[in-house]
Symmetry: C4
Subunit: 233 residues, 4 copies
């Protein structure tokens, strides 16, 4: 993996609705959005595309998506059968506070387990895969010796009520590339949809690895070499 | 995920036989119905479609299904090569006692492991994914702070002999969205086939997560915050 | 799952070579035959079809298979590029001693782990999935309360040298539906290719479940209820 | 599996660029190159094909690859949008020191976990799957009783800086079929692309199995029978 770049990826498909439909099928296959869980959104200029609430994420059609115009503050497309996603205010917070171009929300079990094993912050250090994560506050990605820190916020009864705590976490952790929601899942964003997808994949890989390290008695944020002193297997 | 709704899903395919064939391929890929295990049924008006006994669930054709007319109490379609599923009386109990529109039975290893680790009831609480589970006794779904309770019945030598205990569990647990069968698997139903599929996915996710929590020393039904006091890794 | 029958499955494809090619792709996707591991054979009348030695099992073509005529004791088809499988004598033993119609050999990690955790015999009892396993010595399948016993033989330097121990195990364990090879994998057979596939799936499911039970402190061959007394999680 | 041969595999596809594109999709599905991780290269005569840096490995097109002419020491094809892979010097070391025809680099979690649990060398012995691994210093593959040894080198801030340590490991371990990079992943090569793929699959299988053995209290390099004395489950 290149250490400091995500070269611009130019796929043939450019329709945000079709990309959301395609990627949600992929996320379903990963177990991240089964049982109608999760959500996804792309911002295309002034338009924000959002997958609807409570639908099977792997069986959507492009016409099922909500399309909101941030300029006119109205829905350009509002499918009658569905309700807008309760994730919408959280996606909007990422668009506004992080100038994101796309947001992904999953119920990944790696994220839920990490949220149960860590306290206020998830931390992992000295693992090559962090190089896929952007520094956020400046150009370029994290380096091998950097520590990835992801804040963990407490879950609320209604998903939309997470917005204030998510906004606060974005302010308090300017370098955070994602936010974990305890006993719930993960919110990730990126400058565009492909960067969001890459970052989501890299973070989920790191969450999975970190849980495995804990099972082996190894501190995922420990110094290089500490694993040999603490491992239990 | 929307907190209180499963918006109506309208797929193009509406033939119950074709849907059963398609979903059983999906369940096979999840490892839920390998080795001829499991079963599935859809109720379409007076007609009940059931996958046959002892066949490879991923290799059925629509003509392989049994179709029973609940009005005339006769089989409208009865493939010569096969035997009716031993699950049929259990599916019928769900149709009658829960006004279900579809039933799914799997041998999911998450279900079997949960049945070995819990006693008379499986319980999980304070996990976002429970919001995909209906309250059953009233409209709407469980909320984040609710506890999902699934009764566990003992297995019998012959699958059809499970019916009395399943019927009893349905009466004793009016809010139960499913029944676990110890050392055997899971029975799930829903108002229609897509709701049954969604509920099955959400419950399997929760069973898998709950077993992982137990391995980490965390009580899946414990209070929020208890995980930090009891975790072993 | 029907308790005492595997209804006759009639797929459209009947060419043994094409079925082997298709099923090996499926076994590859399960991780059972990666890295050229494993093997498969079908007996069709006097002809025995065998996948060649040392090839990528998911990338074979029907013409790549060896076809041996048991009547004339000559190869009817012997692809120049390949060597006959070292599994051939073991498959032949199953055909002769068990009147099998097909044999499957995998390097399943569940099989290898089970062979490391058990001594001379693998045992599991009181699990519904055993009902997919034939009794072998009489018609019908195991019942829920039966114990599945699979002998474990020691591995040898050359695969073909396993034949004497496999033949001995088949004699000593007339009810065995399969043989485990320590630190190596699993040999399974069936009256025809679909029964062999079903039995292989059911056994692999049981091996996987049994290893999970051991990790949880539960004896897979223990009495019903013993799990509550011994579980460690 | 044949004990001493990887019979020559002749696929229809022979274009190195198309093979890299196809195999990277496969590696992505295995979780080995998600989040732009990993890399792959084929040497075809004087030409070296390399997947670009920082791209989604499952979404490349053949025209996206860099093609370097080792004779003229110039790039024959250099896609404008991308940067050459930082793995390139490591692939070149394998081509020169091992006369390899193809190289694969993954971030497999099995590799990372093994690198955390072992010290300077990963070792596994007496497992059938090692027979898919070449002896390197002489024709033929390892036998069942052989010990597979893979050196583990320390990671560096920049991937290209790994080259000196990788070259040193290749010299110090003339029989090594691969090199592990601590907290990072795995480098594997082979005489041609299909042998590299087979060896990578076999090594990943062995790394996964070895980590499972450690969790069960079994030394993967222990004598046959030692597992019964040390197992903890």
């Amino acid at each position: 993996m290149g250490s400091d770049t995500n070269a611009q990826y130019v796929p043939e498909e450019t329709d945000p609705a079709k990309i959301i439909v395609e990627l949600c099928k992929l996320f379903y296959a990963q177990g991240w959005v089964t049982g109608t869980a999760g959500g996804m959104s792309i911002k295309d200029g002034d338009l924000v595309y959002v997958a609807p609430s409570g639908v099977q994420k792997e069986r959507m059609n492009p016409v099922d998506l909500f399309v909101y115009d941030t300029k006119s503050k109205t829905y350009v497309s509002k499918p009658e059968l569905y309700k807008p996603s309760a994730c919408t205010p959280l996606f909007m917070a990422c668009y506004e506070q992080r100038r994101a171009g796309a947001c992904i929300h999953t119920h990944s079990q790696n994220a839920v387990m990490a949220s149960l094993l860590w306290g206020r912050e998830f931390r992992i250090a000295n693992i090559e895969q962090v190089k896929a994560i952007p520094k956020v506050v400046e150009p370029g990605n994290l380096s091998f010796f950097d520590t990835l820190v992801i804040p963990i916020i407490e879950n609320t009864a209604h998903e939309e009520d997470l917005a204030p705590d998510l906004e606060k976490a974005l302010l308090e952790y300017p370098m955070a590339p994602a936010v974990l929601v305890r006993r719930h899942g993960l919110y990730v964003w990126g400058a565009n949809v492909w960067k969001a997808k890459i970052i989501n994949e890299a973070i989920d890989y790191l969450l999975e690895l970190a849980v495995k390290m804990r099972h082996a008695g190894i501190d995922p944020a420990g110094d290089i070499g500490s694993e040999q002193l603490t491992r239990k297997i």
